[in-house]
């Protein structure tokens, strides 16, 4: 019964998301586009963090390279949008394979530090390779061409772009969800809880961690491919370690134990930022206080706490 109600709530939320351009003020089309893209970024991160228990501080490398790949393809080759996204995913997969291969052998803080170091190396390359990446200014001034598949969509129209993002993020989320619920996803959970036991069961923990790392990288790259046409610029900030912190904050804010937690976290993060910066420029201070309270009192995040409360109270 309760699951049915939760499913009904989910259906209403999805219907609401589809209707955003018609029911909300135009500005919120941009806000929700950002929420969806960053939500996918955070959900991809949660596959390695919440499910596999690996705290990476370099996840922005894959997000950023996805953004640069799409921007470069749009500038130099003017391929259809879907092809750009495939290039983004391919580029981030390769990068994740390289960084992952060298990082997943280490645990805990060593893994975190190594991913941070690799992330900042990618940042430094984008910052300094002026002839290709345009240095600190980033790549801008590209125009959006066709969507691909023969569909006639005006991507430059923010409402159209929002629906495109909604569709792609929904498909990506379903694929991620299926991965999480598969036997592969179960093994990842087992690795988080007790890697020694998984290892004694005859499974190669390192391979599983690497595959999870690459999958997370691919979806982060897809999110990056979506953010570049939205922001109209691919800049080194997208690769900076502070960008790597955002999915961590979003996952914790929303709840790492639930698949949709990072999306809720992304929504809370972006909406709070928008509203609070209207009143004060020190929004990071407010965010810090909220996060501290979350971690101390609501370890399961917004979504986890809400579901727990609902399950408890409404018996």
């Amino acid at each position: 019964m309760k699951t049915k109600v939760l499913m009904a709530i989910l259906a209403v939320v999805i219907a609401g998301l589809i209707a955003v351009p018609w029911i909300a003020s135009y500005f919120y089309v941009f806000i929700f586009t950002e929420i969806l893209i960053l939500g996918l970024f955070a959900a991809s991160f949660n596959l390695i963090f919440g499910y596999t228990g690996m705290l990476s501080f370099g996840h922005a490398a894959f997000f950023g390279i996805g953004a640069y790949a799409t921007a470069l393809v749009l500038i130099h080759l003017e391929w259809p949008f879907l092809a750009c996204l495939l290039v983004s995913m391919g580029a981030s997969a390769l990068l994740a394979l390289m960084i992952g291969f060298l990082s997943v052998r280490l645990n805990e803080v060593y893994f975190a530090m190594l991913t941070l170091a690799f992330g900042m190396m990618v940042f430094a390359i984008a910052y300094q390779w002026r002839s290709v990446t345009n240095g600190s200014d980033g790549l801008a001034g590209f125009t959006l061409g066709s969507f691909g598949l023969g569909l006639d969509l005006t991507l430059a129209n923010p409402s159209v772009y929002y629906h495109v993002v909604l569709g792609i993020v929904a498909i990506a989320a379903i694929v991620l969800y299926v991965i999480c619920r598969s036997s592969f996803g179960m093994i990842l959970k087992a690795i988080r809880q007790n890697p020694e036991r998984v290892s004694f069961a005859g499974l190669n923990v390192r391979t599983y961690r690497l595959v999870a790392f690459v999958i997370a990288g691919i979806f982060a790259g897809l999110a990056g491919g979506l953010i570049a046409p939205f922001l109209r610029v691919a800049s080194p900030e997208l690769l900076h370690w502070s960008m790597s912190a955002e999915p961590i904050l979003m996952a914790i804010l929303g709840g790492t134990g639930f698949f949709l937690g990072p999306f809720i976290g992304s929504a809370a993060f972006v909406l709070l930022e928008t509203w609070i910066t209207t009143y004060t420029e020190s929004w990071m201070l407010v965010l810090g206080i909220i996060l501290a309270l979350m971690v101390i009192f609501f370890r399961k995040g917004l979504l986890g706490t809400a579901i727990d409360w609902w399950m408890e109270v409404k018996k």
Partner: protein, 412 residues
């Protein structure tokens, strides 16, 4: 900053109150102009000075009946000097705060990112500071105008100044640069080098250039490198709070005692001169897009006096550009008879207006204002204003130093 927050709060409250009427405008509603400036970090004084200029213009206009009989109201957003932040902020201003027009942009990097999105917003933008030639060049569009001097204009003037210095008159001279590591620093050096080579093919543009990160704090490695090199002339395009730090560190290193021809491309910004006072050395070449004592006309006299009365220090080029941009909108909106975005943008094309720096025309082919770069040599302290004066002041003809429309690459 505290004043800013209260202002933001008021703006937010009015924004919430008018949310229901977004998109429609009534005669009694104020005309809303969105301002996009750097309001935090090491260049925040530029945003602050721009706001001073704008507030002066808005108060003057509102006291004399407003625009088209409507009051003018400003809404500001902080670009943080980042393109992605500025693009989001512009969307917020237009779609959420119903801004009728936009002014601003301090950074070339921000301008390069934001300008291509202007046709989507369907609102005019007057750039008051960012100087990259591209936005009135290969990235130009019908909604983007610039009222301030661009890098191409200023570097042509700089090359003319450099060619007249003793350093360049003696044969093969070595020139190098220190500039911020983004579009502005790199393009300043590129345009300066090209123009200087045209005038004097014998000069040697050194391959050893110096591009510290924008906001770098520590410039001593770069200062030392230039002092250790064979450079005889150095073009410095560091600006804002960075320039203040740079000059203090250069003083400590004895940089200005070297036998070097030093040219600061935005050194006569009064933000910088006010912050430095006597620490700004004498005898270096300083440029600005507008020097407050360079123009003898009624508009300038009125502007400088009002600015000094209100804020106690002389106006900077950034304040002047921002001030003039508001008057440009007044004239364009009154000529168009509406605040409709495309109509106002069209009215700006080819429009001439009286600004503190003389008669300013937005050239129809690339929407760049034909304004005059000012170069001078730092002199004794001003007895009242607490800043260095400019001696040997040269006011270059805006049209003469501008690129031809063909050379800009702009197709409108």
């Amino acid at each position: 900053m505290k004043k800013m927050s209260i202002r933001n709060l008021l703006v937010a409250m009015t924004a919430t109150a008018t949310l229901g009427t977004a998109g429609t405008s009534y005669a009694e509603d104020p005309i809303r102009i969105g301002g996009l400036y750097i309001l935090s970090g090491s260049a925040a004084t530029y945003g602050e000075f721009a706001q001073r200029g704008i507030n002066l213009a808005v108060d003057e206009i509102n006291d004399s009946g407003g625009i088209l009989g409507r009051q003018v109201e400003m809404i500001y957003e902080d670009t943080q000097g980042k393109a992605s932040v500025a693009i989001q902020a512009a969307r917020k201003l237009v779609y959420s705060e119903s801004a009728d027009a936009l002014v601003g942009l301090d950074s070339s990097g921000v301008a390069q990112g934001m300008v291509p999105t202007m046709p989507e917003l369907q609102k005019p933008l007057i750039i008051t500071h960012a100087a990259t030639p591209d936005v009135t060049g290969k990235l130009c569009n019908a909604f983007t105008y610039r009222i301030s001097v661009n890098v191409a204009q200023n570097m042509k003037a700089a090359a003319m100044v450099a060619a007249e210095t003793d350093a360049t008159k003696t044969d093969a001279t070595n020139w190098t640069t220190i500039g911020p590591d983004y579009a502005f620093g790199h393009q300043s050096w590129e345009f300066f080098g090209n123009y200087l080579k045209e005038i004097n093919p014998d000069v040697n543009l050194m391959s050893e250039t110096n591009f510290p990160r924008f906001g770098a704090e520590d410039f001593t490695p770069f200062i030392d490198r230039v002092m250790d090199s064979d450079a005889e002339g150095v073009l410095i395009s560091v600006w804002g709070g960075d320039l203040v730090n740079f000059i203090r560190q250069a003083n400590n290193r004895g940089f200005f005692e070297e036998d070097l021809e030093v040219m600061f491309t935005v050194g006569a910004a009064t933000e910088v001169l006010t912050a430095l006072g006597e620490e700004m050395p004498e005898g270096v070449h300083l440029s600005t897009r507008y020097w407050y004592e360079a123009y003898d006309n009624d508009t300038n006299d009125r502007f400088v006096k009002a600015y000094l009365d209100a804020y106690g220090n002389p106006p900077s080029y950034n304040a002047e550009g921002a001030y003039a941009a508001i008057y440009a909108y007044k004239q364009a909106m009154e000529a168009a008879g509406t605040t409709d975005g495309p109509a106002v943008a069209k009215a700006l094309s080819g429009m001439s207006m009286e600004a503190p720096n003389g008669t300013v025309t937005f050239r129809a082919g690339d929407n760049q204002a034909m304004v005059s770069p000012n170069w001078g040599v730092s002199g004794p302290m001003h007895p009242e204003h607490g800043i260095r004066t400019l001696t040997n002041l040269q006011i270059f003809d805006g049209e003469e130093v501008a690129r031809t429309i063909e050379a800009t690459g702009c197709k409108l």
